[in-house]
Amino acid sequence: MNLSLLDPFALAQDYPNTLSTTLKWGHSSALRFNHQGTYLASGTIDGTIVIFDFDTNGVITILKGHTRTIQSLCWSQDGRYLLSSSRDWKSILWDLKSCKPVRTVRFDGPVWGADLNPNNPLQFIVSLYEDTPKMVDVTEDVPRLMTLPTQPLRPTTTAAPAKADKQLTLVVLFNKSGDYIITGTSRGWLNVISVETLEIIHSGRITTSNIKNMKLSATGRKVVINSSDRIIRQVRIPDFHNSNPSEWEFEVQVKFQDVVNRLQWNSVSFSTSGDYVLASTFEGHDVYMWETEMGSLIKIFEGPKEEMVEIAWHPTKVLLAVTGLDTGSIYIWTSKLPQKWSALAPDFAEVEENIEYMEQEDEFDIIDEDVMVQRLLDEENDEIVDIITIEQTKPSEAFIIPVDLDLRDECPESDEDI
């Protein structure tokens, strides 16, 4: 509602410019905004999950259930459910209405990452440490685990894979419509798995090294892939629905890298518009931002004096949240503009340059009060005003986590220095 009243220059600004806030609650290791941008979930290294209300920057709820570092967090579309995965071998699906776990799923090893089906919050996929990835269905009380394949499909003409070619799935993602799974392996392969059959229907190799992490853009048309070869690739996702798997191809559109310093990247992310790619630097204090058309470097966010890890871009605002490695603080960059002073004085307008003012003939005439009153009243029209109909806005309204005044949400001091 405020958009049409905001300064157009403020809206044109599409990336943040100042480090404005630091949120600190425990040692943050995972970060995720809900789809509407009203809450920020932060997972900590001791397994606690803290949800910040983004209107107040205050803690709205604390979820306790994990005992080791949180690896990933994922919100359901409506914001009611949150999936957390941890190195304690567990994934928990939380209902934020009660702030209690609805389902807890135990695996045979630490969980690397997880993704919730965008169409069904009771279905998710996980990648596990030195284990095969799984798809989990928690519709029933007892979770159903299904193993996902890892060995890529190869053209039948090539020789059977050598033993040394054994690989592991490191990252898993759902596509935007939730009917295909995209996985990345330790040997640089991307696999597409159909949710229906759980079989690999297409594979493509984009590099020869580990795929460390992978993020889907908001439109679902491209992924950004971070691999151990120090190159970040933006890959176009083929149209799964309107073309044959044999025609699919993972086309690397842009490569981002630091050719001089040969930096390794901790984590990558798209901006919400998909116009920028961000990456945090290994053993550096910076976050790099490139535009995705030509791959040119736009900005380096110079962080506080610590290494930056997890990156989260706000879904609606021009705002960037990044976690620090040493302190576990969450640093927030926003775009700040000065107050438009003409908003305070309605008789004035801000002009770019001086204008020769032409006085109107009757401009400073003193009008009789009655005439003035009548003139003002005449300006009204008899249009029918609609005060009830609500315009539907996008994104849809998020689930509201109830405010619990009894919740003690101070961070225990003992957690500070581990």
């Binding site: 009243l5 209300d53 209107d55 309605p346 009153v373 003002l376 005003v385």
Partner: protein, 346 residues
């Protein structure tokens, strides 16, 4: 809003009078779930009444001076009050003082003069307050923390409100200005100046402002005796209402939206074409229910600007009205220390 079906002009039938306050009653407000009515008074108490049997359910005591404004949280679980003791208090309105847990949950302490107005946002996580200290404060009430102080008025603030989506705050002040603020940044977005239609070029103190339910317009009342409906995007007054008396007090009007269903049973038989819709045609009439200083309540038709009816409600100045979300009852309160309840019907 309008769920009740009324044929013909709206009527307000006196239903009951709630006695008990020992001072002027400044504000009445139905809970969003329609189960309770809260009244805040100059006797420094808030009384909670059941809308089923109109009995007194609870008295919230703790403020040390008169209460100017109250508001329910959107889930009906909390009540906030603004008082002349410079504090804003958050209550669990149904917890009795005799119980182990006090009904008082938070005290927000930052204003340096009487707090005159307050509102929850629709998500229920923020409160905005206006004060005679000329400041507006946005609160994270859960942590009793003042997030932002908006300082651009030069006289006491008389009313504040959130837009439906919570992104804009409107404030009205006795300095004669209505300002719109961006909730997120705390910056002033726009200023509206209602011309004094009674005294020409003099300042026109704004005594009340609020957004309409869909947030597209602002209703303001000023001491020149006019109520205005603003199209704030275009800086335009599109309707003015007058007839009531408003020379001194800040009074709170309410809106009533009555949907009239025109039954299609008697109309021509529906044609077999698939294009014709035979659903019930309904029209919604909106009323502005304005307290007046002559003891009456004036009911304006929002579209035609005409006074539809006048209701004698109190023996002294009427200060506030409210309509429950189901359009069953209208409550009013005033300087005579009583709360009047009217049944709404055709």
């Amino acid at each position: 809003m309008g769920t009740g079906t009324v044929n013909g002009p709206v009527q307000f039938i006196p239903f009951c009078i709630l006695n008990g306050h020992t001072g002027s009653v400044n504000r009445v407000k139905f809970s969003p779930d329609c189960r309770f009515l809260a009244s805040g008074s100059s006797d420094a108490t808030i009384r909670i009444w059941s809308t089923i049997d109109w009995r007194l359910v609870n008295i919230l005591e703790g403020h040390t001076s008169g209460i100017s404004d109250i508001d329910w949280s959107p889930n009906s679980e909390l009540l906030a009050s603004a008082a002349d003791d410079r504090t804003v208090r958050i209550w669990s309105p149904l917890s009795l003082s005799s119980q182990a847990r006090s009904p008082l949950r938070r005290t927000l302490n930052r204003h340096t003069h009487h707090v005159t107005s307050l509102r929850f946002n629709r998500r229920g996580n923020l409160i905005v307050t206006g004060s005679r200290d000329e400041n507006i404060i946005i609160w994270d009430y859960k942590h009793a923390k003042d997030l932002k102080t908006l300082t651009a008025h030069s006289d006491p603030i008389s009313a504040v409100d959130f837009s439906r989506d919570g992104t804009i705050i409107v404030s009205g002040s006795q300095d004669g200005l209505i300002r719109l603020w961006d909730t997120g940044s705390g910056q002033c977005l726009k200023t509206l100046v209602p011309t004094n239609l009674a005294k020409g070029y003099q300042k026109n103190p704004v005594m009340f402002v609020q957004f309409v339910p869909n947030g597209k317009y602002i209703i303001s009342s000023t001491l020149d005796g006019y109520i205005r409906l603003w199209d704030y995007m275009n800086d335009k007054v599109i309707k003015t209402y007058r007839g009531h008396v408003n020379t001194k007090y800040s009074s709170t009007p309410s809106l009533l939206n009555v949907t009239t269903s025109l039954s299609t049973e008697t109309s021509a038989p529906s044609t077999p074409t698939t294009h014709t819709s035979v659903a019930n045609v309904s029209t919604t009439t909106s009323y502005l229910i304005q307290p007046s200083e002559d003891g009456f309540i004036y009911v304006f038709d929002l579209q035609t600007k005409k006074v539809v009816t006048q209701v004698k409600a109190h023996t002294d100045v009427v200060l506030a009205t409210d309509v429950d979300a189901e359009n069953r009852y209208m409550a009013s309160c005033g300087l005579d220390g009583t709360v009047s309840v009217f049944k709404i019907s055709s």
